[in-house]
Symmetry: D2
Subunit: 291 residues, 4 copies
């Protein structure tokens, strides 16, 4: 998977701070004078909150600062001065992702098809499920499948076990591909803004269970799907991506469920892709998704 | 407006009843054997509720039953036997519509542009408002504008006055084009499923006031608009039409409001159009919108 | 796969004929008086060509005409009288589909995921390719993969071989899932309106090779995909389904290709689904796709 | 219209040049060190052509360089050095727009509704038409209407007359709102990339006359509209905006024409809006449309 040549390695800086005149010029100048060739820059100023957001990516080939010193240097020079939050990523580190799934295959297939086609710079070493059903799919793609059944009684210890597994497999982020379990606060806090869920409605409409049934009852003309980071409040985390499709009176609930699958799989995959590409910043329960 | 030639006059039957084998054949046969040439037929069976819905339109030119006898005859022959709800419309009756508006012009312009271009078979004899602002627009199109200011104190009597006006102008249905007043139960019940509202969100998300602000707060990636029949529960009536548009982190609330206008005007106009064309049936707080 | 219970077997009639008063009543009456319970009916009248189209499906459980006699009886009673084209299908016959593929996996995965999830009432006994690349995918799903390399020199005989294979596997229709070979007239005529292709543009724009490059050159703001029946004129057959996605100046050709994949796979799968469901009629190089 | 306060006046720079390390930092630094507060910055690098594009907007309130000296200074300091194309605009200059129209009102109404609602920072002093039909609409909005009938014989002199009129009214750019005349090369060259047209198809499909009829014939499932700058090649100029809507076999040509109107008016208005906001750059027959 990691066929990126050394010479093309890039550093990506994701940051936000209170907006101040000259911040963009300062950061880009820092990269430029140290020999970094910027290959991507996108920024956004939230004029209501007065916050400056930026994603900038530059080639390390002729960058004069050693990679392990970039972060401390940046921290020393700017972070405190500008009251800046930032994250630094290197393109030759391939993030490691776990998929949690229950009984439905559509999101799983969509992601694994992209993964095996080499479309995503990610490693997927493990699939976790509270049901045995998807083992066959995992095996088709040669990915470790761990069946961890959950009951009311064993939930806490099974979660502990799962957390262990995440550590063991050095998992960076988790994708809930129609995983029908509510994670505990403890679990969620172990992966802050690093658990991506797909909810089968255009949130905030139809929070919780059986959203397609609720949509049918309400008589909506559009159904949707929403991918978001999981927070401790159910279906209320920062939204990454949403989409809808048109339905009509001719569609019974079973059609909504069926049509919704295409929405769910694309919305989830597109959100995961943006996460892998380090293109998402969160702020006050909202996301900045750079293009 | 009423340039429909006598010879082309059609009758339109909108109906629903418990589904029964042969109901479609029975009704179409009734039309056929009496010399009616069917120019439109669409039907739908709700298999969960087991209800049959149909819209059928036929030319009256060679129809042997006099138009004033169709309804009683149909009632006698079928309605009771099949426990049928039905409405009969003739194409040479031009329905009369009132527009209620507050301070925003976009929906008003969109409808009046279609109206004056002759796209809608409707008469719009009057525009009612709780503000004087839109008088100029009404005058541009030569339509009577009635300014009926509403305060907490005078609301009941002003509504009574408005109802009188509706009677005087023989209004068949009312369109709320961003009318910022909540109608009383009494008023709504005077026009059951004959008041069309536009709400500036994809209902049931963001019911009530300031939905764009709420959408911004929640960080959604899509904003929507919903046209529905007004019932006594706020923003909860049968949905006729919905649409959405994509937004991003770059859009402050003011942009949502601005982008939303195009949604609102098209969604409302499309809903009104379907109503004018007698293409909507309601059942259990949901709509069947024939194409 | 064929877990449909005998009792629920239905017959589906797809037909068109010159429009005539009473045709709908006649056909539905025929079904009704012989004990058939209609579970689906949709019809359409093309008022410009004056053609009546219908799809009607009824349960055979209490139908008094033996299934093998329905077609001849219908032919005798109505087809000639009304100058009618019709096809009759029984729901307990599972159509057999072959997939032709070259080197790209996305459409293949999307279809096989639906297939193995049991979403489609179809059998896919074979995948044919002019390249060996997709063998691994086929094997993952346990489907026979036949590698039939094609050069200018051997094209005719390889096609003959392929046709033999289609016969051997009793293939009803073929899906070209980004199959990068132009089929001969002879081959196409062996499967009239039974070969479904996906073209990676919104036809008729960008016919032929490299449509994404052409789209980039032209500077379009939308890219599309089109599924159509293959006819002997390149990319000019009856269109079944189309969709588009938005692009911007930020998207180089490689992005168009990448974004286009999601379009291609959904548009193709939706078209194949409609074909499997016997919901498509073609007339004068256009399709009627019943909902 | 020009209610922008002096203090809030901004300068907007639109530019492109061969990409070079440091160009972004250089320009933003120039603005910063001279006291300009940047309120908008968006840039794009075309990596295939290796061209850097930028739109930057800053407040003039504390900018130390007098406004009339910005352009020459920028030219002297950077334009030649970087082989840069640039345009400078000030927010207190309200651009002047002419609308050319033939017989259809929908685009005209949509633009005039936005204009009179104060949504667009533009002046529309004149509407030109080769037909008298739209005079009434123009009068409704109190805008000068000039009827300039065109025949094969008088085309050249009528165009000369029209050009005179544009000069007299100091017109900056022209919007063809379904104007059914082909402009001469001479006329087009007088307004390079300053004539915006709406074509009623998703270009490059269905170039030329009667695109809806052609779309119907081809049996497409989507119809579109395209707004573009007019160049001397018919319907081949740089595309600004496109959109589509779904149709089905149920839609005769008349429906395509009708449904297309909503597309046309929104696509055109959105394109005009971007032009007014100085958010469009063109390069090699393609547009960069900043968000």
């Amino acid at each position: 998977m990691s066929k990126i040549e050394k010479n093309n390695t890039t550093a990506t800086l994701l940051m936000h701070c209170p907006d101040k005149q000259g911040i963009l010029a300062t950061v880009t100048r820092f990269i430029n004078i140290n020999g970094g060739n910027i290959v991507y820059l996108d920024q956004h100023v939230d004029r209501e909150e007065n916050i400056f957001f930026m994603r900038v990516e530059w080639e390390l080939a002729n960058f004069t600062i050693p990679r392990e010193e970039i972060e401390p240097m940046f921290d020393r020079l700017y972070a405190q001065k500008y009251n800046m939050y930032f994250r630094l990523y290197f393109s030759d580190y391939i993030p490691r992702m776990a998929i949690f799934v229950s009984k439905m295959a559509h999101c799983l297939y969509d992601m694994l098809a992209r993964y095996t086609a080499g479309e995503w710079k990610v490693e997927i070493p493990i699939i976790v499920s509270n049901h045995p059903d998807m083992r066959e799919v995992a095996e088709r793609f040669g990915i470790e499948y761990r069946y961890i059944p959950i009951t009311k009684e064993n939930k806490a210890e099974q979660e502990a076990l799962t957390l262990e597994l995440m550590k063991e497999y050095r998992i960076d982020f988790i994708v809930l591909a129609r995983y029908m379990q509510i994670l505990s606060e403890n679990f969620i806090n172990s992966f802050p803004h690093r658990i991506i869920n797909i909810h089968h409605s255009f949130l905030p409409a139809f929070v919780g269970a059986k959203p397609y049934h609720a949509a049918y009852e309400r008589g909506v003309k559009l159904i949707g799907a929403t991918s978001h980071y999981v927070t401790t409040e159910l279906d209320a985390g920062p939204i990454i991506e949403q989409d809808i499709t048109r339905i009509s009176h001719k569609d019974p609930v079973s059609n909504l469920i069926y049509k919704g699958r295409d929405l769910e799989k694309l919305v989830l995959s597109h959100a995961v892709e943006k996460h892998i590409q380090r293109k998402i910043l969160t702020y006050h329960n909202r996301t900045i998704v750079f293009t």
